[in-house]
Amino acid sequence: MSKDNKILEELTSKDYEHGWSVDLETDDAPIGLNEGIIRWISAKKEEPGWLLEWRLKAFNNWLTMTEPVWANVHYPKINLQGLRYYSAPKNSNKPKSLDEIDPELLQIYERLGINLNEQKRLQGIAVDVVLDSVSVGTTFKETLSKLGIVFCSFSEAVHKHPELVKKYLGSVVPMTDNYYAALNSAVFSDGSFCYIPTGVRCPMELSTYFRINAANTGQFERTLIIADEGSYVSYLEGCTAPQRDENQLHAAVVEIYAGKNAEVKYSTVQNWYPGDKSGKGGIYNFVTKRGICAGDHSKISWTQVETGSAVTWKYPSCILKGDYSIGEFYSVAVTNNYQQADTGTKMIHIGKNTRSRIVSKGISAGKSQNSYRGQVQVMKRATNARNFSQCDSLLMGDRCGAHTFPYIDIQNSTAKVEHEATTSKIGADQLFYCNQRGISTEDAVALIVNGYAKEVLNQLPMEFAVEAQKLLALTLEGSVG
């Protein structure tokens, strides 16, 4: 036990690897939130009138809403008036090539291991890097534009493709959806926009790396992915953030629209700063992610690896509207120290012969609380709907908690819905078996955890899977209790 404690201590006292911040000159909005700030953001971004109106409408809606309290997480109340709602690096005058990008910025990404030049050459990924709030570099645009694929920052899309943005913005996550989605609709700074035209199969993985940089800036990302009829896209999102003492708010909105026969695969590795080992600091991650399978035979697949954030509140959902459409949700959520996660999914079956699959693996260590909250709803007309849900929890140490809140609401007699959940710890016999064969306890834990999460990790694209495995090992090594 004492050895375990030592290892645990070593690991938990390890400083956050990505915890540093580079001083950049920023062009910031004044602290606070009111109609003036929204007009200021909108003007700063040279947005058209309809978008400003939309923002203001969302803001007025938000004013009538109250903060949700049903989630199984506890945190001090956030002073939303004490935040800065817009912060952009100053040298952001639309760079035309990588050479024009502030070398200091490039350096940050290099330290994070996502050198744009490298990736461009070696991995064949188009990276749309978001630093704080303004998108500063977009690569591979040419290759993509030849196919008619639009992959750019949200603000660029507002200017270049207003008809698409106007049509789909808020169509999946309406501005009245929930407290944080409404807030995001009012103040969102930037994000990614992606449009795949009819019949096009996107030849590469589209990837966005988010970073929070300026202190006290809530980051309000807005992502909109539209996959037109018969198209396919795989989208990656990864997060790291510098170390801070104050809690930072991250309230993003992701909307996915899949047309007839279209398929969208959305993968996330989330590694925001989780706070130190005494639970101080860390990011509040209150995200609304939702996709709609609008056309027949369409498919949306969410895969997430959640290792960071002090408080996570996130339910990537699928609305299965088209007949024969498919929704998938694969998740690994790891919490350690004082982290709290309340995450899961919603599968709303509306169309006939729709299918959904949920695989959720929770791992709690330290004094953390990990909750799965999911809903499977089969509407009256969703004949032959099929769902399979599995949510397993792994507990490490006797101070943590694992909770499951599955809601299953069936209104159609032809539905077949299965749900199963187990809770367990790493068995002494499993560890003994490994030890006996010369594998150290620490390696054995990594081995077992990776095996436990394999079903989900397998869903990740290659590059992400490697990173995710490293993250799992880093977060959990030695925390066997």
């Binding site: 006797d398 908690g401 499951t404 809601y407 077949k416 749900h419 809770t423 367990s424």
Partner: protein, 425 residues
Amino acid sequence: MTTTIKNNLLDSILSQVVSNPSFSELRATSRLLLEKNGLPAIKEEEYKFTGITKKLENSISDFSLAKKSDLNSKTVQSHVFEGFEGDILVFNNGFYDKELSSVSQNGYIFSLITDAKPELLGKIAAKEKDPFVALNNASFQDGVYLKIPKNQKVENPILFLFLNQSNGGQVIQPRILIEVEENAEVTFLEDNISLDDKAYFSNTVTEIKVGQNSQVHYNRLQNESKNAISVNNTETDIHRDAVFTSVVVSLSGDMVRNNLSLNLLDSGCEGNMYGLYLLNGKTHVDNHTNVDHTKPHAQSNELYKGVLADSSRGVFNGKIFVRQDAQKTNAFQQNNNILLSEDAIVNTKPQLEIWADDVKCSHGCTTGQLDEEALFYLRARGLGKEQARGMLLYAFTGEVMDHISDEAFQNHVVNIVQTRLGSNF
């Protein structure tokens, strides 16, 4: 609970309550709670799918406290199931009916709650947890207190026979307190019967203390009229090495809500919960179960099964709590549903909350239909469609009925279920 619902039921019932000095504190504190919180609105998580307050207001226009009516022994006899041997406690609209009951006190001690004034009353069922417990606390009219002394095995089962009448919408609130001491063993049967088919509201609270190393079986059948609205609260404290088994079979009613709570207070104890709901018409049955593991080495098993036809609705909410000290806990929970019609609805929420790491907990839940191939197999062997379906459904439901601990009662339940499944249910 933040919204205060000023409603007809609460006002009229509370104004009719006759004060009883023996329970003045229990009544007063519960009343205060009720006046503060009101009855549950549909917005509340615990009553999300069961709008019982609204149902009551819509079904009954004039709430009145129940009155004992004139029943003869012939009526009682006609409602006692075949083959029963043992003592019968008859509740006439919620009032214990001395003339109609047969109480031998063979192996147990019987008294009226109003006479015995047991200290334990109101200590097991938490009024804070459910407003209907508070309502019963504040306004119950009659009840019984049974005590099974140390080392005593009660040979014959004890039957609680609830005979309920509408009388223009009365509120029937019986109260039962059972105290089982160390090393004792007893089986209870409960049958709920409506004597007419008009609406009434029955709100029962049963508190059971299961003493160290004792064994208690509680089998309940709910087969009331299509207009009966009932809430049943059963809460048990289970002590060291004791075993408590509950079987609840719900077959009819307008809206039925069962709150069953098992508090596993010490190590080595075991709680079993089995439930069956076989619903048709517009019947709405809601089973909320709650298991609280507080100490190590305890075990709980749960199996609830439902068959839903027509536009019936079944709600299942099973909570398992495993506290930090409750290491080496085994907790299993399962809920299976079969939907037979387009209009039937199932809402299920199997919930696990675990704070201990060395535990084995699992839950599973399914909703589906009968296996087409199994049906085909039977039909290929010359069985009619109805017959084949009935046979498969009987097999599905049998798993729960197997756990009824009294043979005669089991036959009684099986007969009703078979008749229902055989007809065009």
